[in-house]
Symmetry: C2
Subunit: 462 residues, 2 copies
């Protein structure tokens, strides 16, 4: 933490936002300039995250989504109305997929709003609230910044987004972007806390439940990678010898060679033995899962009962009943401690994940494509698979160790994965992106290839 | 009107919609397929308007907007969530620009909605109303079709859109798209009516006001071209010898050689004498105007007073007070009759609109570009100018006779005009589109060039 005397007493609101974002790991901003956000962008350019301009807003939104998945927060900056509405698809996708994507909108001056001025980028009806209300349909927190509460509102939206792993929305009036605000809050990091009693209650009941469990299984969902907890989970599972199955939304969280990894799980949709393993378990723990139709093999999974423990982003509990505010990482630590007391046997995996091989002869087929891809994919890549054939095909190949696998199994908006290459590539420069996408999907957002090239990334595009 | 025995007693809901659209002049549908709208598209393909598939939804929305400007109604068909949200920018633009653009969304089955199923293309929170509520922020009418009221809802949305020249939103659950509905309403055309008393009151007061007017001026706005009333207005102005100035949003409504056309008008922003003409008028009639900042020369126009007559889409009145429900075309006919009784002198235009000429020497400049364009633009074209330099540059050139001039002076979303070429070209095949657009704006929606080529259009792109 900086000493108070190192920081000026006031900074511009834009600088405040930029500093907060850097504190939270954001080193790149995605977006498109527009007349209402120019002051904001000027202010953010001073010591703020680097600017990555995109040809259109939807591409920028998808890129920021992918960045958020890797960095724990992603930001897309647009102008009012014409800019922000084109991001709403990405913002909604972030809601479905548990991604902390924050949209920052440069909004009209307060005087225009207060007088109901009929200006461009509005519906010319004097109502400036249409678009923020639309965003609030999908955002966990949505604020239009006021002079009186500016820093509090910025902090509230950012903290809600990172705590809930959900999208946030922050509109900054043009005439407030460079206005001075109190810099003092910047000395205190933005951190959320669990309720201590709720956490203790969760841990106590979980410990009791697991103490004599003979065949516990952890069903791991998308919140584990979203919270950057994949390594922690891998260590936990290995240390305690507890079986792990991964939802398709958490594919790649455990390396295929991990001794406790039993495979991908989607109810009866996958025939790799995980359905039987989960059915036979005496305790099933849902670690950041989402029980959507596609992820549960269209409801063919073992449904949680009233006693099934779950760990969600900002609450944990049993069955459908949260015990209170228990943050995901605190709940994961509680699970780790609870497993310490377990006396049952360690999980022994029966066999390695089989790799399929197809002979290369005759015309190129889908099966051959996936087989070849599986054969050449090195460790340490980011495999981005767009919705549709690309995604479901890529689900079928075994992943090398240390692979980030990403797509949109819930929101399923075609065209997502191409701009996601930009965000993923900038978020983790050491990890080469590999994109598989159909030609129809690629047409949705193809202009983002120019930004990918401008950023100097070298993805493999199939 | 068809005899009842010519039509089956029931048709599918999709066929009902398709028939209604064709009755209203819609011969092309724009959009993108998706799993929730496939049944709907199958049903619309039977005797419905022709399908024009686009690479992405925003482009399809803009194309349908341009189509609506020419045909009086345009339709974009998308899937739920991932599809519809990408059109919201276009839908909002239609609200700002008074365009009857109807978005038809293929929505999930009713059973999924009723049980709050966690399915793809949703936020996985069981709430299926997020996106229709977002659309309702900008649409004049928004309905999610029910089995009980399906045809009534279809008719209500279409009628509201064409009556108000505003966007509409219609969500059709997948399992209702091919369900049978009563075909009987199709025998009655969809028509709105003025309130007879309100119309009579408007005409009486207008007649009295104009009877002795010596220097009346009609300020013409975007509703005149939106209602396809440009020719009627031209005849009215010539017959009565009443001066007409056009807002920039109604540019091209009158040919430059029209004897009553005094020029484009935007308060003191334009120095062509129209500001003085309007200031000197004894009666100013606002014919479908929008008094936004940009269109009024940033408020430098002569503001309407309490007695200033206005004609809006579905109401007419004086000052800020409507007399009641008076539809635009009825109000225009009332204006025509009111001018019959006028005894004042005919307007005599002092000079023709001057054409500027720039010598072609030295490096290519903006001024030269516009000069050359002005010199080569034939009559009968559609000049589509994208927001920014292209639009404001194109405002400066004199238009040949019979030119459609189109852009987004209010909503001002860059990238609009490129897909607009598709919609305009299909709406009026005999009118060659000429597009002027900056490279940044073109990148927003560049993929629509493929649809333009596939449609066999031959636009000129600058």
């Amino acid at each position: 933490m900086s000493a108070p005397d190192e920081r000026p007493a006031t900074v511009t609101l834009a600088a405040y936002l930029g500093t907060r974002l850097r504190q939270l790991g954001v080193e790149h901003l995605f977006g498109v300039p527009g007349d209402f956000n120019l002051d904001l962008l000027d202010g953010l350019a001073v010591d703020g995250p680097a600017w990555v301009g995109s040809p259109n807003e939807l591409g920028a939104g998808y890129a920021a989504d992918a960045y958020a998945r890797s960095r724990g927060l992603g930001v897309v900056v647009t102008t009012y109305g014409v800019g922000e509405l084109s991001v709403l698809n990405a913002l909604a996708g972030a809601a479905a997929e548990d991604v902390p994507l924050v949209q920052v909108v440069g909004a009209p001056r307060r005087a225009a709003v207060e007088t109901g001025a009929l200006i461009h980028h509005t519906l010319a009806d004097g109502d400036f609230g249409h678009f923020s209300r639309a965003a609030a349909e999908v955002a966990v927190a949505a604020e239009t910044v006021t002079a009186e509460r500016a820093t509090e509102q910025v902090d509230a939206v950012l903290l809600a987004a990172v705590t809930h792993r959900k999208p946030g929305y922050l509109a900054v009036p043009q005439d407030l972007a460079l206005a001075p605000v109190d810099a003092a809050p910047l000395a205190r990091p933005l951190v959320a806390h669990s309720d201590a009693d709720a956490l203790a209650a969760f841990e106590a009941r979980l410990t009791e439940l697991l103490a004599t469990a003979q065949r516990p299984v952890l069903v791991v969902g998308q919140l584990v990678p979203r919270f950057g907890a994949s390594d922690d989970l891998a260590k936990l599972a290995e240390r305690h010898g507890v079986a792990v199955v991964t939802q398709l939304s958490a594919r790649g969280v455990l390396d295929p060679g991990h001794p406790a990894f039993a495979g991908d799980h989607a109810g009866a949709m996958l025939t790799n033995g995980t359905a039987e393993l989960v059915e036979a378990a005496d305790v099933v723990v849902h670690v950041g899962t989402a029980l959507t139709a596609e992820l549960t093999g269209f409801g063919s999974h073992r449904r949680p009962d009233a006693g099934t423990p779950f760990l969600a982003a900002a609450e944990a509990g049993f069955g459908a009943t949260p015990v209170g505010r228990v943050l995901f990482r605190d709940a994961l630590a509680a699970l780790d401690r609870a497993l310490d007391a377990r006396t049952g046997p360690r999980f022994e995996r029966s066999a390695a994940v089989p790799a399929s091989v197809v002979e290369l002869a005759g015309p190129l087929t889908q099966a051959q494509l996936w087989s070849v891809l599986a054969g050449v994919l090195p460790t340490g890549t980011a495999l981005l698979a767009d919705t549709g054939t690309a995604y479901y095909g890529a689900l079928g190949i075994p992943l090398p160790a240390d692979t980030v696998f990403s797509g949109q199994p819930i929101w399923s908006s075609i065209g997502y994965a191409l701009p996601a290459v930009l965000g993923q590539g900038l978020a983790e420069p050491g990890r080469r992106p590999v994109l598989v996408i159909g030609d129809g999907a690629a047409q949705m957002t193809v202009q983002e290839l120019s930004t990918i090239a401008a950023a100097g990334l070298a993805p493999v595009v199939l």
